[in-house]
Symmetry: C2
DNA sequence: ACTATTTTGTCACCAAATGTCACAAAGTCC
DNA sequence: GGACTTTGTGACATTTGGTGACAAAATAGT
């Protein structure tokens, strides 16, 4: 039962609920209904309840779901309760934006190190992390148990960094450049492509 | 027939193919097989062929698809062939990263204006666009026919900008902050949530 | 010219996911 | 106590996606 893998769809939706819950909590709410979650995720309320009730009875009838409790439950279901270390590559505008934004921190990801090759950037503090030289990649990945590499480097450098990450055993790469990356099949690459998502939104607006 | 809306899934996949095609073109390729597209999108090659063959016979047997031709066809199918104006809010690190990256330009989106409220940023050039004061929002939206607003502002300011955009008729908002936005039901909000996508990737890695 | 190989375009079929309606049970509010 | 809200859950239709199969078209090699 609990060792079954979730389906892609359920895991994706649970992650999205988690984001809504995290934000709702920041806004001071303590409980939330499936209806309310639906408004922010565009997932049907019945589906939400069904997704959740498959794992336990987390809600209170007539009230909704306790936000803190549900966040904890979903984290447990997704098995991502702990802290996970990520390494960020590129300390340019994008890298700095990511490092200072807190989006990752909210979900239990700790930016373990920021790398760059530009001597003017190495040694500079971004948020409260000092930018290190790319040469230190190997030791940091090994020492800190980095699980995820986040690429905020120019497209031309992305493949090289990806190769190095793969060589040092990192299996998840989050790619903010628009380069297509070639990696072994056991490595997951997620490419952020805002323009693609915009195209998608635009289509449904135009028709 | 051609006036039928595409289903969500097909539209999403076509957009993704488009990104792969755009990048493959940049890498100097002129044709590509469904197999190759599959490797970058994780969509089954048969499905890709079926998606495309529903609209015409775009490929050459034994060869694959002509990249330029297929890009044009998909743009036509998605009805997003033209130029679309977008307005960017926030000229901080993230805003500058977006403005200078070219991700939007590659897909026919033109950044029509960049807004900020900080007097130190207004008037500064980012890429080849001069940052304007937020007060000019109304006239720019009207004059340039802005269809999309991209929010690269702090979470605390996101709802206010969204409200103003809605008030001036913009129907698509791309939100890079982590704020939950309340908008009328005819407005589409797309929130970028890298951490959520990471959680999702991590789950499948851990199991 | 002939053969082997690649790759599209399509069939048919199955499994899985999603949307929808319905409704009892549990809780809150007045 | 009665009205209302909201969860948990069942049943069912529909859609979607995955898979295997295979002919037809194109290329490359001999």
């Amino acid at each position: 039962m609990s060792s079954d893998r979730l389906t892609l769809g359920v895991a994706a939706r649970l992650s999205r609920y988690l984001q809504v819950l995290t934000q709702a909590k920041k806004m001071g709410k303590t409980s939330i209904s499936s209806q309310a979650i639906s408004e922010y995720t565009n997932v049907n309320p019945t589906q939400i309840r069904r997704d959740l009730s498959g794992f336990g009875k987390f809600g209170k009838r007539g009230v909704g779901y306790d936000i803190d409790g549900l966040i904890a439950q979903i984290r447990k279901i997704l098995r991502t309760s702990g802290q996970h270390n990520i390494a960020l590559f590129g300390a340019g505008n994008l890298g700095q934006a990511i490092a200072t934004s807190g989006v990752f921190a909210d979900h239990g990801f700790r930016i373990s190190a920021i790398f760059d090759v530009d001597p003017d950037r190495v040694g500079v503090k971004v948020g409260d992390i000092t930018v290190r030289h790319y040469d230190e990649l190997e030791s940091v990945v090994a020492d800190d148990g980095v699980m995820v590499g986040v690429l905020a480097v120019p497209s031309s450098a992305a493949q090289e960094v990806a190769d190095d990450l793969v060589a040092h055993g990192v299996k998840i790469i989050f790619n903010y450049s628009d380069a297509l990356l070639s990696v072994p099949s056991d490595v997951t690459v997620h490419t952020s492509s805002p323009a693609v998502e915009l195209l998608h939104a635009l289509y449904f607006y135009l028709t």
